[in-house]
Amino acid sequence: MSAPADGPFDRDVIVIGGGVNGTGVARDCALRGLTVALFERNDIAFGASGNSSGMIHGGPRYLTNDPDVTYSSCLDSGHIQHVAPHLLFRIPFLMPVFGSGLGARILLNGYDAFFSLYDKYQPLKRGKPHVRLAGDDLRRLEPGLVGGVFGGVTFDEWGIDGARLCIANAVDAVERGARVHVHTSVTEILRRDDGSAYGVAYRNRHTGEIGRVTARAVVNATGAWAPITAGLGGLERTTTPIRPGKGIHVFLDRRLTNYAIMASSIDGRQVFLMPWQNMSVLGTTDDDYYGDLDDVIASRDEVEYLFQAVERVFPAVRSARAIGTWGGVRPTLYGWGGNEDELSREHRIVDHAEHRADGLYSMIGGKLASYRLFSEEMTDLLAKRLGNDRPCSTHSSPLPGGAEAVDPMQLVLDGGMEAVTATRLEYRHGARSLRVLERMQRNPREAAVVCPCEPVTEAEIRYAVEHELAATVDDVSRRTRLGLGSCGGMRCALRCGRIVADARGLSPEQGTKLSLAFLNGARRRRLSLLSPDQARQEALSLASLRAELGPDGQRTGDD
């Protein structure tokens, strides 16, 4: 099969990678009227974007060297809030200072002065000014803090569900005409004799289907995979200089604090204990990583590193049960400190024309918090190349569900949902929760709660399959957090597989396979968490799975 190298082209732009940057560019292109195809080898948000700490911070660390970056970070955080207000939640941070005497006082004064500066930018992102607190006040706020707190400051940041952010961008792009292919790997970047890029070859990892798509420009937005992707076009990995940094998080079965609390690790890094809905999260680590990017698993050492750091500040962290981990790999710019421009941005667009590959671009580095800006810069370049002069509107056009507010109470009254179900549904879908509600009203069966831990209803699972590009139980979990609660999917994964199979017209046995793939993956991410309670839970979930499938059923899915 040969694809025409000199047009007509199938699309204006091909985007490789369905993380926040890839979906961000696809959406920006679609908004400006460019035709796009996006390829994602796993699922949307499978990589760093669905596994980050999810903080849309305002860049306080640049405050002293480069306040412009703080300004633009805060401004952009404000933009994201504007287009997807439902997805953001406030994270009040608490930075305790330990010790006594002059040293502690100087440190606290330093924090106080620093965050007074940061306060000036807070209004850009609707953040609250910091508060300086004495040790007693601090312990009143968080009684679980260890003794010997000298004082501290609070400051305000925003959190987001990174996976939902990517889904929202992808869904909006699709609704504006983009073609988004999930579970489809780009296997080659097609180049002409003069080296310029004109398309990609792909393979669907579920169906095995292969094909080629041509375009006038190709964007490599594959995060930590960027050097591998560059290789698919025959480019050296040094053309996309990133340093892959693995980071993990641990989630705990209960909410321990009201504030996110900062603590110092054994090697002096800052880690945190953060409340998250009715659970808590420990994060995060940063280590060079050259393992399998499709299979990033927290190790026991990393888990213990986080516990030890937080325990010194908040001993009760050990009283909670660790029920899951997640890990991702940051696409950190390699040696970014060397270049002033890169330092200020942490992200860079590589125009591979400089490597004889005109028409191919790589987006490297970046943060979740700056995805919109990074995507805008990338799309500006593409628009210019393609002669499109429509302005960027991603700072003002609402993402799906972000246009108007819905009161979860309405879902309770109109849909008979329980309050928690309604609140979580509204958090994930904003105004589009009404579409899920509509399904339940049309077919009351779909109001059934399938995952009681989160909770997630059958209607939301079907909605994810029909409208949010979900094809597997894993995909549903990434969109809804189904199966990530304290029972580890024991109560819902099989049923979810049955529903996904039914929605996709697959057999019950195929549905069981989707469930098992999810359960095995989730279990692997828990292998490093062997506490007394968790061991009992794991044994229980092995037994209950066998009860459903029979002693040999894990292999066959049926007798």
């Binding site: 026991r300 213990e304 050990r318 660790a322 008979g416 069966r445 109001a447 059934a448 709660v449 059958e458 024991m490 109560r491 099989l494 049923r495 049955r498 529903i499 039914d502 057999s507 019950p508 046995e509 549905g511 069981t512 095995n520 279990r523 692997r524 292998l527 490093s528 968490l529 062997l530 506490s531 007394p532 968790q534 061991a535 009992r536 794991e538 044994a539 229980l540 092995l542 037994a543 209950s544 066998r546 009860a547 459903e548 499938l549 029979g550 002693p551 059923g553 049926d558 007798d559």
Partner: protein, 374 residues
């Protein structure tokens, strides 16, 4: 010698051991702590084709054993081939080739339409040409009944008024179906499935239970009857240690008192029951039994002591299966290695399948061997 055989643990294995001791004419005391796997199980009995002894005991525990493989339905829309089941579970093998009704009362955890589609599409149903269809049965009296735990719903349905009402309804609905399949809601204290079958004039039964559902609760109830019938003394409480006292053993209880035993059967279950546990989440995470024993745990033939890392075994295995392989390696062949009248059975045994039929047959073996120790 007047000391009894002391059995620690009252799940399927412990009851089987006590039953075997009593049948051999010995005295047995059964000591049990909290609910174990047997109180949480599904109602399905997996394992090899059972012996006559196992079948006899199983029957008195309200189980039905079929020498040929039977078939039962699970809550998740699958069909399993089995040798044994709680008598309340519907035997599908008898209904092969017929039309079954999947009852749908409108509960959150149960989608009759989807289940009927799912059962019909299974390999078993296709190969036997058995059809399932959803039979709506408006049984719920309040929104709370939609969401209450299956166990609580079962307790509700077996109250006299509700049971009578259900029997009346069943006489009228589901025309054209040869049998009716319910979720795991057909009673704990009463044999509701049997009552409803006669009221409906055709077989009525359950799917398997989820963890902590009615099947395990029914086991708990029927166990009492079996132990009483065989005059086994049942004691609530946890054992803290088994110690050597000359030629006999002594079982030390939590409260410090001790029971002299001519033999001890350890039927303490696995991690689910708390028979074994991980000691802490820290370095290595060693495992130990719920009581001090003069013998060590083993995993795949290796001794596991306090310095052995269970976390390491799990990491090497790449899954939690070592939790189920770990156990005690003293079976009815009388522990030659330990020279102690000490036996293990059921989930407490190292490297044995975690199934009901295995628990029953190893329990009978251990009980018999213990009774033979004089």
């Amino acid at each position: 010698m007047t000391e009894p055989v002391v059995i620690v643990g009252g799940g399927f294995a412990g009851v089987a051991a006590a039953w075997a001791v009593a049948r051999s004419g010995g005295a047995a005391v059964l000591l049990t702590d909290r609910a174990g796997a047997s109180e949480l199980y599904s109602g399905i009995c997996d394992g090899d084709a059972p012996s006559d002894d196992v079948s006899a005991l199983a029957q008195s525990l309200g189980l039905v054993i079929t020498p040929e493989l039977g078939a039962v339905a699970t809550r998740e829309g699958l069909i399993r081939r089995v040798y044994g089941r709680d008598s309340a579970l519907l035997d599908l093998e008898e209904q092969a080739g017929k039309q079954l009704g999947v009852v749908d009362p409108g509960r959150d955890d149960w989608d009759g339409e989807l289940l009927a589609r799912s059962f019909s599409a299974t390999r078993w149903a296709r190969s036997t040409n058995t059809r399932f269809r959803c039979v709506a049965l408006p049984l719920l009296k309040s929104g709370a009944e939609r969401r209450m735990a299956p166990y609580d719903f079962a307790r509700l349905l077996e109250t006299p008024e509700r049971a009578a009402e259900l029997a009346r309804t069943l006489a009228e609905v589901g025309g054209g179906t040869d049998a009716l399949l319910f979720g795991p809601w057909l009673g704990v204290e009463r044999e509701l499935a049997a009552q409803l079958s006669s009221a409906a004039g055709r077989p009525v039964g359950e799917t398997a239970s989820g963890p902590g559902g009615v099947a395990g609760a029914r086991f708990g109830r029927r166990r009492e009857a079996v132990l009483a019938a065989h005059r086994v003394e049942l004691r609530a409480g946890a054992a803290r240690a088994v110690e050597e006292r000359g030629s006999t053993l002594s079982v030390v209880l939590e409260d410090g008192s001790a029971l002299a035993a001519r033999a001890v059967v350890l039927a303490i279950g696995g991690f689910v029951a708390g028979g074994f546990r991980v000691n802490d989440g820290g370095v290595g995470s060693a495992a130990s039994a719920s009581l001090e024993l003069p013998i060590a745990l083993t995993l795949e033939g290796e001794l596991m002591d306090r310095a052995t890392s269970l976390a390491g075994q799990i990491a090497r295995h790449g899954g939690f299966e070592p939790l189920e392989a770990l156990g005690l390696a003293v079976d009815e062949r009388f522990a030659a290695s330990t020279r102690l009248p000490l036996f293990a059975c059921g989930d407490a045994q190292a490297g044995k399948p975690r199934t009901v039929l295995a628990a029953l047959s190893s329990g009978i073996g251990a009980g018999r061997a213990a009774a033979g120790v004089f």
